[in-house]
């Protein structure tokens, strides 16, 4: 090998700690970008492909009971491709040998073999259920501990128990794909319905359009026309849901979240490149003498430049060797995790060429960009300066051409210590030396502080975002959650339920709520969307709305309602007092909006009207099928217990209970999905923290290296190992503490930014930010540990230097 390349090789392998530091800094950035871009590619492709592969319905209709004649008419309607009728009922189900009831949506199909829409994919056991047999969707297994071959017990609406044989597990990626809160599914054949005391009639229709399956406008048009026809012919349609074939209903949310992760990934690359710039400029200044020698014996700028460029590229290539395989694995892992959470399938492990290219580009370009300036200025340096320049390249050391004065910080330090000493306060000398060292290299200190501060600020912000999201979910819960909600299969008088309910120990209050399924109409009569109208008593304490405009409902409101912000998607200029056309029970009516409140945009448009008025609309005076119970205590355990107790009690008294649910039950699912998101944010935050810690280690290492002579002198005048280590660690500590102070400040805008982006992606509405001391406390502990750990290695190296080595060092 030519000697100049041999030198480059030695530069690479002789100082392993430095090489490792640079390579890892590049690798962290390449890894995070690789994971996110890879996952992004895999998910955006597989999510739609796997969704489309199961022939998802473009239109889902929830209807009153209907028969095969109606199904045929649906089939023959304009623009319809496939149409399948199903019956969906909610049952309480428990596994063999368990006393834990789980609510399942039991879907009855006409025929498993003729299944055309929302296909079921086999997982294990049979793919078809015969009479009195049942299949489970694989997600149900998370809640139901059942095995193929065992019996499942279903509780019928009249309280009797029926056993069905579990013959297989299937996967259904289409039904309920866009619904975070959907209960798990089970499947039976229509012939089983009599066993379940249900009529052999459909109540759902799953329909595909004949053409334009990826054109949401077309789907909406065909679906709305179909619905109108059904309504007109006497089959009431209570809800419709539209979706494209090649677009998973949650695609936008997932993309938005990956977008946030990508932004963080880019930030990590950015931070790591500042770290690389730091290390490389230190390397170049340590190499000044080498450059001088090379030029002395005839080396030209170009040659020096090529040598150091090669070194930098070698760092990049080494980083790629580490980060590309890990990044590929990580990308698939992340994609798989998201796929499992959101119930879609991946097409198998693979390397994403695009992600690979991005990684290679980042791995080579980042060190190039970060190192270009120091390499160019290093290769242009004159022999004279290179050979005469102080090897440490001490910025503040007076050099030829600089006035001979004390650096400002040293000057301050001397003044302050002198003043303190006059008052009898003596700062330990090593600590003063540490402080002086910390500020000696101002550029390097800035970059280190910047990386550590960014890492800390993001870390803290992620904790704030987590609390913000949970707080918001809590606020959402306060809209329509009591301690226990009991739904009945038929309506009961309020007085009757009150009489019975208040007998149950721990029940404080009972409220009857009603529900009106309506449709929001454009002024021209076209359907804009479903509008779910809840009707609590106007003075209900069980709703605690976040009003954005106007007011909340009042008992004397007639044809008036408060509506969630989601309505602004259809009527952007809507103000309280404006009229809105609604379709209620087949009739078009004009209602007045009295107020607009905040709510999860994704869950559709929610509206409230007073119970006092809804009873007139529904013709149900003081009757309802849905009751909210307030208990004396509001913790989760009490709520669960009370739900169980009320369920028992009402069944025992002969009421037809459909389900009794504790107030926080379904919020758990939502919190769970949010926690997944928070975990990802936290991983990114930890990666940034790692970059920061590496930056600190590098800085400490460089500082120690450049002070080798000084440390030697300290040792020569009697400083022991511990004194030397203490000096170095104190230095790391000061940097860590400074970055913590800065991170506190920076975390505030970061919290706002991140919360807003996440809530827009997940809830489709900006939310109020909440702060928690948690992130601050954890980061404080972490930064203390990190700064000590980051200093220990350089400190140990410093302590290990013998005087002989120090004098040999040049």
């Amino acid at each position: 090998m030519r000697p100049r390349w041999r030198k480059v090789l030695h530069d690479l392998i002789d100082n392993k700690a430095r090489t490792l530091l640079v390579v890892l800094s590049i690798a962290v950035g390449v890894f995070s970008i690789g994971v996110i871009s890879g996952a992004y590619q895999i998910i955006s492709n597989d999510m739609s492909v796997s969704y489309a592969a199961n022939h998802p319905a473009n239109v889902e209709l929830r209807m009153a009971n209907y028969n095969t004649d109606v199904l045929t008419s649906i089939h023959n309607a304009q623009g319809i491709g496939e149409a399948e009728g199903r019956r969906v009922n909610n049952f309480r189900v428990r596994a063999q040998g368990s006393d834990q009831w789980v609510a399942l949506d039991v879907v009855a199909l006409e025929s498993f073999s003729k299944n055309q829409v929302n296909l079921l994919a086999p997982v294990s056991g049979a793919v078809e259920a015969g009479k009195d047999e049942i299949l489970l969707e694989k997600d149900a297994l998370k809640k139901l501990n059942a095995a193929v071959g065992e019996n499942l017990t279903l509780e019928l609406s009249d309280g009797t128990l029926k056993e069905l044989k579990l013959v297989g597990i299937v996967q259904d990626v289409s039904t309920g794909a866009g619904d975070f809160l959907a209960p798990p599914f089970a499947y039976v054949v229509m012939k089983t319905l009599p066993t379940l005391r249900q009529p052999e009639l459909f109540n759902r229709a799953y329909v595909t359009v004949a053409e334009g399956q990826d054109d949401i406008a077309n789907i909406r048009e065909v679906g709305t026309a179909l619905k109108d026809r059904l309504d007109k012919n006497g089959t009431a349609v209570s809800r419709t849901r539209f979706s494209e074939t090649h677009k998973h209903p949650l695609a936008d949310t997932v993309n938005a979240i990956l977008g946030i992760l990508l932004a963080l990934g880019i930030l990590i690359v950015f931070l790591s490149s500042s770290l690389i710039a730091n290390t490389l400029s230190a390397l170049l200044s340590q190499h000044l003498r080498h450059i001088g020698v090379i030029k002395l014996v005839g080396g030209r700028n170009k040659q020096v430049f090529a040598m150091y460029l090669t070194l930098i590229m070698a760092f990049g290539v080494l980083a790629l060797l580490i980060a590309v395989p890990l990044g590929g694995q990580g990308a698939y892992g992340l994609a798989l995790f998201i796929a499992n959470k959101l119930r879609f399938n991946l097409l198998g492990y693979r390397i994403v060429p695009m992600a690979l290219m991005i990684q290679v580009a980042v791995g080579l370009l980042v060190p190039l960009v970060a190192g270009l300036a120091p390499v160019i200025s290093g290769s242009r340096i004159t022999v004279l300066r290179a050979l005469s320049g102080d090897l440490a390249g001490d910025e503040n050391k007076p050099q030829a051409g600089q006035p001979d004065r004390l650096p400002w910080f040293d000057y301050m330090l001397v003044r302050v210590t002198r003043i303190l000493a006059m008052r009898g306060i003596h700062i330990p000398r090593p600590f003063i030396i540490s402080l002086r060292n910390t500020f000696r290299r101002r550029g390097r200190l800035m970059l280190t502080l910047f990386t550590l501060t960014m890492g800390g600020a993001i870390f803290i912000a992620v904790f704030n975002v987590r609390v913000t999201l949970h707080d918001y979910i809590g606020a959402i819960g306060s809209y329509f959650r009591a301690d226990v909600t009991v739904d009945f299969d038929k309506t009961y008088r309020l007085s009757e339920i009150q009489n019975f309910g208040l007998q149950v120990d721990g029940v404080e209050r009972v409220e009857a709520w009603q529900f009106i399924g309506t449709e929001l109409l454009y002024p021209d009569g076209a359907v804009a969307d479903n509008l779910n109208m809840l009707a609590p008593p106007a003075n209900s304490k069980l709703v605690n709305p976040i009003i954005v405009a106007g007011r909340w409902i009042r008992a004397d409101d007639v044809r008036k309602f408060a509506v969630s912000e989601a309505i602004l998607n259809f009527f952007p200029d809507l103000k309280p007092g404006d009229p809105i056309h609604l379709k209620i029970k087949g009739r078009t009516e004009v209602w007045e909006v009295v107020g607009i409140f905040k709510f999860v945009g994704r869950e559709g448009i929610l509206a409230y009207t007073p119970f006092e008025y809804s009873s007139q609309v529904l013709n149900l005076t003081n009757r309802s099928s849905s009751y909210r119970f307030v208990t004396t205590q509001h913790d989760r355990a009490t709520q669960d217990l009370m739900a169980e107790r009320l369920d028992h009690f009402f069944r025992g008294a002969g009421f037809k209970v459909r389900q009794a649910e504790s107030g926080l039950a379904s919020l758990d699912t939502a919190s769970e999905s949010l926690d997944t998101l928070v975990v990802f944010l936290l991983i990114m935050a930890i990666l940034t923290a790692i970059v920061g810690a590496m930056g600190l280690t590098g800085t400490m290492g460089m500082n120690v290296l450049e002070r080798t002579r000084e440390i030697g002198i300290m040792r020569a005048i009697g400083a022991d190992d511990r004194a030397v280590m203490r000096t170095v660690i104190a230095e790391g500590f000061v940097i860590g503490a400074m970055s913590f102070g800065l991170a506190i400040i920076l975390s505030i805008p970061f919290t706002y930014l991140l919360s807003t982006i996440v809530s827009l992606a997940v809830f489709e509405t900006p939310i109020d930010v909440v702060f928690t001391y948690m992130g601050y406390a954890i980061w404080f502990g972490l930064i203390l540990v990190l700064s000590v750990v980051a200093s220990i290695l350089p400190a140990r190296n410093a302590a290990r230097l013998t005087i002989r080595e120090v004098l040999a060092y040049e």
């Binding site: 100049r4 002395l296 014996v297 005839g298 004279l384």
Partner: protein
């Protein structure tokens, strides 16, 4: 008389510092003859290194001319850029400093090969052989694959000289090459230099503050406060045959 190989005309050097301009060389005129062993003597701070750095192109003069006539070329050092000077120096002028300036991570043989690698004067195979010959000349062949840190100072200086000879330049300039060596080791270095002049016809310019060494040069110039003072031609074996 031999022809002049290096010619300095009215060379001045001014350093500008915060305390004002400092004149390190004033109107230096001199001719260095081919094949001579020229000593430049002076006290510390006299401007010896400054003068040498004008000759080897490490530093840029403030005014005047430096012309080198070697291998049938007339080169004006002062008109070249720093980069051009490096390229020229690599081929035509070997430089030796008091602090040997070897690259610590390269073996002796690689240190010597480096200038040949950079100038592309020799093929890799040839340069390796040539480096080995130079090591033999310096009687260091058994250390060829050692790192500089593992040999003595005198040995390191001989490696530095071998490296200066790598591209077979006609001129060698040395700044206090024996400055950090004991007298016996220093003697050895002088023997090497004398051998290079008599056997290989090199021209050597050497700087020292040690007046006691004057007798070893074929000619010596004294410099004080940036000005050339006197010339003396001692009676040495190098001068036999030249002097009447």
């Amino acid at each position: 008389m031999s022809s002049s190989i290096i010619e300095l005309r009215n060379v001045s050097k001014t350093y500008s510092t915060a305390a004002g301009d400092f004149i390190a060389l004033t109107n230096v005129n001199m001719n260095i003859l081919a094949g001579e062993f020229l000593g430049i003597v002076g006290k510390s701070g006299a401007g010896k290194s400054t003068l040498l750095n004008m000759i080897n192109g490490v530093d840029q003069l403030s005014s005047g001319e430096v012309i080198v006539r070697a291998d049938n070329e007339n080169i004006s050092i002062h008109t070249m850029s720093e980069d051009e000077r490096a390229r020229w120096r690599g081929k035509k002028m070997g430089v030796v400093y008091q602090s040997f300036q070897l690259l610590p991570m390269l073996t002796l043989i690689d240190n010597i090969t480096l200038p040949m690698d950079l100038s592309d004067n020799y093929k890799p195979r040839e340069s390796k052989e040539r480096a080995m010959q130079l090591l033999q000349l310096m009687e260091l062949e058994e250390h060829a694959n050692k790192l500089p840190a593992f040999i003595s100072g005198g040995q390191q200086q001989r490696v530095a000289i071998a490296r200066a000879l790598a591209n077979d330049p006609p001129i060698l300039v040395a700044d206090e090459p024996t400055g950090s060596l004991d007298s016996i080791t220093a003697d050895h270095i002088f023997e090497v230099f004398e051998h290079l002049i008599t056997d290989q016809g090199k021209t050597i310019v050497m700087v020292t503050h040690d007046v006691g060494l004057v007798s070893r040069f074929s000619r010596s110039l004294t410099i004080a406060d940036g000005e050339l003072l006197s010339e003396s031609i001692p009676d040495t074996k190098l001068n036999h045959g030249r002097k009447k």
